[in-house]
Symmetry: C2
Subunit: 343 residues, 2 copies
DNA sequence: CTGTTAGCGCATTCAC
DNA sequence: GTGAATGCGCTAACAG
């Protein structure tokens, strides 16, 4: 069973190749008679429509966007934030008749190969670090590209909220009336260091999102009269509830335990809350906690958090990657005050 | 800035097109000298590598698999089961250097168009209904295709567990010592009917997974001496915790409330447990509950459930869609007994 | 190790 | 409303 071509269909239908092509691409420009002959011939030969690769080559576009997901793909799917971002991309792609190709980054050298080989018209890159080698690779492709979160790269769009301002705002809620604030942080760089350090001793974070949020938390701490060197920052290697719970347990059992913890994600905050329960701390009395993203779990737990629509940001990225419009750069956010912080 | 071609690179490098081509595809077959000339020319022209569409056309394969996700794509990403299945696919694709294109199904007529237009070598279809029109469309493409869960379609592979047997087994745990068992079910068909009916009055389910699980629950009920007509089945329009919670609340406040509920997913079971708490029912004393999939939430809630590795099944689907090996058909499962059922 | 030939399957011209 | 020619950018198959 070999591949059936449009030419064979045309021949069997007794029309030219172009008439057959029009039947699929501009049905209106073909007479009913010709069209039905073509369709009949196609059915008889088992021709299911024009070949996608040939068509892409011919028209110079694949009608597909590539979504670059850092680290394990599984991580991306495990992360509800990433997932709703993807859903926003999917909304736009489905509407425009575009496909959406997932380009998983494994950390191996062939990542770049997969990027340059991808049959896509544009790229959407999920938050990564300043030094990620895929960035120059995508840049060199000179196709429309957007980065979500950061970093900001010449020639590529950026869709993000003002992470520093939002962190300062939610940090203010977290650290209100606190004597001993702490932070549970996303990874600083791709080497995935994990451990607790005073804020002032942290190495420079290479993930812009992490860097900005830390800067905002620092502002909030200092506004509350606490020096950054006195704020323990628990750096997680990965963004998940389990590691955050372990980190929070460490903090809470230390000599001078925190009475406020600002996390960087709702999942992390959920882990912190579990650790607090285990340690017998009341929330917010003994410990104020804040999250980020206003996920479902935030509402369930009464978490004060930063609300942003990852879904809308995903949609904005998709539009930019399709070349429809320049990315907005600054997406809206707001603080949702709930019961996990002191009133 | 026009598209740079391999021919231009070859010309600038002073070699034939094939030498340039080999430089990218079989670096070993080219002298160091030629290779560096080609690379230098490419760098000078800003050539980033062979065009993916042209390459796909030429070699007759796209090195990409298509993943067909029912309903809203967002649903797929919102559902942790689906997500770990996707991660399994991604594992295999990343390893083989394949891309992974998401083909979202919106329910509109152009779904089929998107399927036939997809530049993919094979298809993986996430659980759907017997009458889903995309099935014949994919079948007609005569490319490797696998369905997860069901239905079973001629010419397409199937990767699934024995849902009926697993349902009978977990149902036995759920309905142990129960006088009034009930079921919280996935949708029966794509029209998304929602409501509570006696088991015996249900319309024939068109989703094979739902059908098989219902059949298993029926076996379990009858084995416990309860007629299927006496088992209320709450059919949800969607697979999420919130709707399951509402359904369970309805069941629990009815005249003759259940003392055992077998759900079809852990998320649903989590919703049932929330409803039980709200209604002041003790678990498993007043109400036994079972889930499905052994997700993280199941361990947290002490849920008796069916364990299966969606991730491994995703990987198996990917291998089949790549034509590496025929699908296994029957994946392993087991019952995990925890504290949500009577000992 | 390198080059020549010959299309892959289709859609954009531009005729008629 | 239909058709003939042309080439999109690349690589398999063979020579040399």
């Amino acid at each position: 069973m070999k591949r059936v071509t449009l030419a064979q269909v045309a021949e069997l239908a007794g029309v030219s190749v172009m008439t057959a092509s029009y039947t699929y691409n501009r049905p209106g420009r073909v007479s009913d008679q010709a069209r039905s002959k073509v369709l009949a011939a196609a059915a008889q030969l088992g021709y299911a429509g024009p070949d996608a690769s040939a068509r892409s080559l011919r028209r110079g576009s694949t009608r597909t966007v590539g979504v670059v997901l850092g680290e394990h793909l599984s991580y991306a799917f495990d992360d509800p934030e990433a997932v709703s971002f993807m859903a926003g991309i999917a909304d736009v792609c489905a509407d425009r008749g575009f496909g959406m190709t997932i380009l998983p980054i494994t950390g191996a050298a062939d990542d770049i190969q997969r990027i340059t080989d991808a049959a896509v018209d544009g790229f959407i890159v999920w938050t990564t670090s300043d030094d990620d080698p895929i960035l120059p690779a995508i840049q060199a492709l000179k196709r429309p590209a957007v980065i979500h979160g950061g970093p900001s790269v010449r020639g590529m769009g950026l869709v993000t909220i003002d992470n520093r301002a939002a962190a300062a705002a939610v940090g203010a809620a977290a650290f209100k009336d606190a004597r001993r604030p702490a932070v549970v942080s996303f990874p600083l760089s791709r080497d995935r260091f994990s451990g607790v350090l005073p804020g002032a001793d942290l190495p420079e974070p290479l993930f812009p999102v992490t860097r900005e949020r830390l800067a905002g938390y620092r502002q909030a701490a200092e506004a509350a009269g606490i020096a950054w060197r006195d704020v323990p920052v628990a750096v997680c290697a990965h963004n998940d509830a389990a590691e955050a719970e372990r980190m929070a347990a460490t903090l809470l059992t230390s000599a001078d335990p925190p009475d406020a913890i600002a996390a960087m994600g709702d999942q992390q905050a959920a882990g912190v809350i579990r650790a607090a329960r285990t340690a017998g701390r009341a929330i917010p009395g003994d410990l104020a906690v804040t999250g980020w993203d206003d996920a479902a779990v935030a509402a369930q737990l009464g978490l004060t958090t930063v609300a942003q629509s990852l879904r809308e940001q995903g949609a904005a990225c998709a539009q930019a990657a399709l070349g429809e419009k320049p990315p907005s750069r600054t997406a809206p956010w707001s603080i949702v005050h709930r019961t996990s912080t002191r009133p």
